[in-house]
Symmetry: C2
């Protein structure tokens, strides 16, 4: 607690910054958003961002790291002993979507990978791959325990993740819509998985 108070100011601002950046990147893309745009959301000057981050590329990079963490968190929360594959998928989708459309703001800017420099790109792709693999693993579990109908887990995973990743393109912050998405999407996306 004591040392966390030290970090707080800096870390909190940095976090706000990443959310602002993710918001901009979702709306206008990476190259489409100037640092001025991002800074404006926070009521800062573009130059101020350099206090928190080495350069613009690091900004997207950190957005991705953050997004990956959110995905991981949702998945960790979803997995519980005694649940079958289908239930885990449902829970995962609900958590992931809730976070995406919730207060913690838009975290998925999964479109801007090409803008990353090679080192970061590889790291992010690795995180992404691992996440996909884990998701596909859950699908396989469900197929084995009979809660999910046999299917091409790779394609099914892509289809479901595509739906989710696309949400930021049409959801722009309306809370009523957020509620609708959070309740409807897990249902819609898992209907097709039933045996």
């Amino acid at each position: 607690m004591a040392q966390k108070a030290d970090e707080t100011r800096f870390e909190l601002q940095k976090d706000r910054m990443l959310r602002a950046a993710a918001k901009c990147f979702n709306e206008k893309g990476y190259s489409g958003s100037s640092l001025k745009d991002v800074a404006a959301v926070l009521g800062l000057t573009d130059a101020a961002l350099y206090y928190y981050v080495r350069n613009k590329e690091e900004l997207v990079y950190l957005c991705y790291v953050r997004a990956a963490a959110v995905g991981q968190e949702a998945m960790a929360r979803a997995v519980r002993d005694g649940l079958n594959g289908m239930d885990i998928v449902r829970r995962y989708l609900r958590y992931h979507i809730e976070i995406m459309v919730g207060d913690r703001g838009p975290v998925a800017i999964m479109s801007e990978i090409p803008s990353l420099k090679p080192v970061h790109r590889n790291e992010v792709l690795e995180l992404s791959r691992r996440h996909s693999a884990r998701f596909e693993g859950i699908l396989e579990t469900g197929i084995e325990d009979g809660s999910i109908a046999p299917c091409d887990v790779r394609m099914t995973g892509n289809a479901i993740m595509g739906s989710i990743n696309w949400i930021p393109k049409w959801y722009h912050g309306d809370p009523a819509m957020a509620k609708l998405i959070a309740t409807q999407f897990p249902v819609i996306l898992t209907r097709g998985l039933r045996p």
Copy 2:
């Protein structure tokens, strides 16, 4: 035929250009792709593009118009008397996806709407809305004729379209994958619609 020969040279090049542009925009986004990048795909100089198009913005705009046309075409082909809603949806998805991953190349750069200038943006949004509405209409038809289970057509439409629109983000031209997508996706995406 005779007059088409006149257009051919120019129109063909312009068409190649739009495909090159869509490819770049899909890969690196609108602002992330320089005119040099697009021109390079065609073995041309950036300045040459201005012979076909007024400016860069018109390039995305035309990509959108083209994408909308493809969507319309798929939908028109899909709708046939005597088919129930579910069958139409299946056919539409198959046609749309086949075109997207097929020879005519990537046509969906639905992410770059904010880059359009207002007039074009409104026009494209209108096209997009009309297309969504038509798709939701088909879903409703299916619900009425009993081939599709009752659902929130708006959300369901968003979910399905999201999956499709996201394809260009992970499909990069592998023909084997193209076949897989074209056969699997319509199945996966419509499973959840069954009553």
